[in-house]
């Protein structure tokens, strides 16, 4: 237990809900990003997977929408300490997108319009744990929240769910992304409270 703050009682408003350590509940949908919001039209958006051999797989908006979609309802946890429960998205599973991609890579670096990057182990993108989401709560994903398409990897802190996602580099070696080179944890498991380097 930490140092007791004299006179602090706190507000145990979570009730029975179990949250990752250090998180609090919000009903809002706060925004975290490092710069201006890129505006990417659906007609210009494309998703590109580049394997470790340089092979490229591309999907235009139209090709992407033709893929089978899923509508996961998931809890999300931001490293800035808010958690939002039961959020509903529509997107395409990474299992679907990567089904025909031949790779021996262990790592992935997600790249976004605007230059943002974030790294993840490739296995964290598979087995029904990650999506490219294009709708939130039944509506097109707003640019502020990463539209037209963002990565959705709810089991990791939400900075791993890259907004305005443009592509995925599949890599044989881990390559830290934007926040990961700015002091944040390489993996980012909210249940282990892996916020910063050294956690």
């Amino acid at each position: 237990m930490g140092i007791v703050s004299p006179g602090f009682h706190g507000r145990r408003r979570q009730g029975d809900v179990k949250l990752p350590p250090g998180q609090y509940l919000t009903d809002d949908f706060p925004v975290l990003s490092a710069g201006p919001t890129p505006r990417v039209g659906q007609d210009e958006w494309e998703f590109v997977v580049t394997t470790e051999t340089g092979e490229r797989h591309r999907w235009s908006w139209r090709e992407f929408l033709a893929l089978p979609s899923e509508t996961p309802t998931v809890d999300i946890h931001c490293v800035t300490k808010w958690s939002k429960l039961g959020t509903t998205w529509t997107g395409v599973s990474l299992d679907t997108l990567l089904a025909d991609v031949e790779t021996t890579a262990d790592y992935a670096l997600a790249r976004s319009y605007g230059g943002y990057t974030t790294n993840l182990p490739l296995e964290d993108l598979l087995d029904g744990r990650a999506w490219l989401a294009y709708r939130f709560d039944g509506e097109d994903l707003h640019p502020e929240h990463g539209g037209p398409v963002r990565l959705l990897v709810p089991h990791l802190y939400f900075w791993k769910s890259a907004k305005w996602v443009h592509g995925l580099d599949l890599l044989t070696q881990d390559e830290p992304g934007f926040w990961e080179t700015a002091g944040y944890h390489d993996y980012g498991d909210p249940w282990l409270e892996q916020r910063y380097q050294g956690d």
Partner: protein, 234 residues
């Protein structure tokens, strides 16, 4: 562990906390800390606050806006007393920072409480004896909501401060009250041709609007760094 050594009220609802943190490693202007409060039964709550002052040995300063229905800020602005301990972790963040060795001119755009990390930059500039030209565009609802008002009124050569009022301006103020507009940033920020470093901090809606206006004025998006205070802070 930190201990509160002094408080200063910036407004009736915002208080600066001066903390003594033995072994503080120093920080860059723009970084933040995590403050963790623990109740007697072990329950704890954490929030992030920007560091408001330049590095100064073991002293750090935070300015906390009291959010009436918040969980942490009413404690920090009301109950927390000189001599009390508190757990802090940091400094955190390596992106929204100004380094005194960066020669580019700086445009700071603050909305309300978002002025705190930008004030740290103004103070770090002064502490370093830097001559980098700074401009601060500071949007608040009314004059009495300004933080650091006395300090920002005192002349600080090379730092120009442009207050902007959205609800009510002082008598005779040349700009009518209203939200930050393109003309404000065109007139008061450095022009894009100077390739300034732009730092924008405030509530999400303000930051979205200000960053979009800077892009529309021709600033390179990569030169615009943003930090947002979520609506659920507190």
């Amino acid at each position: 562990m930190a201990r509160l050594v002094e408080t200063r009220d910036e407004t009736p609802t915002a208080r600066t906390l001066v903390l003594d943190v033995p072994g503080w490693p120093g920080h860059l202007a723009g970084q933040h800390v995590d403050v963790r409060l623990t109740a007697a039964d072990g329950y704890s709550a954490q929030r992030s606050y920007s560091l408001a002052a330049a590095p100064d040995g073991d002293r750090v300063e935070l300015t906390v806006q009291n959010v009436p229905d918040g969980e942490v800020s009413p404690y920090l602005t009301g109950v927390f007393s000189v001599g009390d301990p508190v757990e802090i972790r940091g400094p955190v963040g390596g992106w929204f920072v100004w380094r005194p060795d960066d020669p580019a001119p700086v445009t700071l755009v603050a909305g309300g409480a978002g002025v705190a990390p930008l004030m740290a930059m103004v103070r770090a500039r002064r502490a370093a004896g830097s001559r980098v030209p700074f401009r601060l565009v500071y949007s608040v609802r009314t004059p009495d909501e300004r933080w650091y008002a006395g300090e920002l009124r005192r002349p600080d050569p090379g730092v120009e401060v442009f207050p902007l009022y959205t609800r009510a301006a002082p008598d005779g103020w040349p700009r009518p009250p209203g939200r930050l507009a393109k003309g404000d940033l065109a007139g008061w920020g450095w022009p894009p041709e100077f390739d300034p470093a732009c730092f924008v901090c405030g509530p999400t809606g303000f930051v979205e609007a200000a960053a979009d206006l800077l892009v529309a004025l021709g600033h390179d998006p990569r030169r615009i760094r943003t930090e947002r205070f979520g609506p659920t802070g507190g």
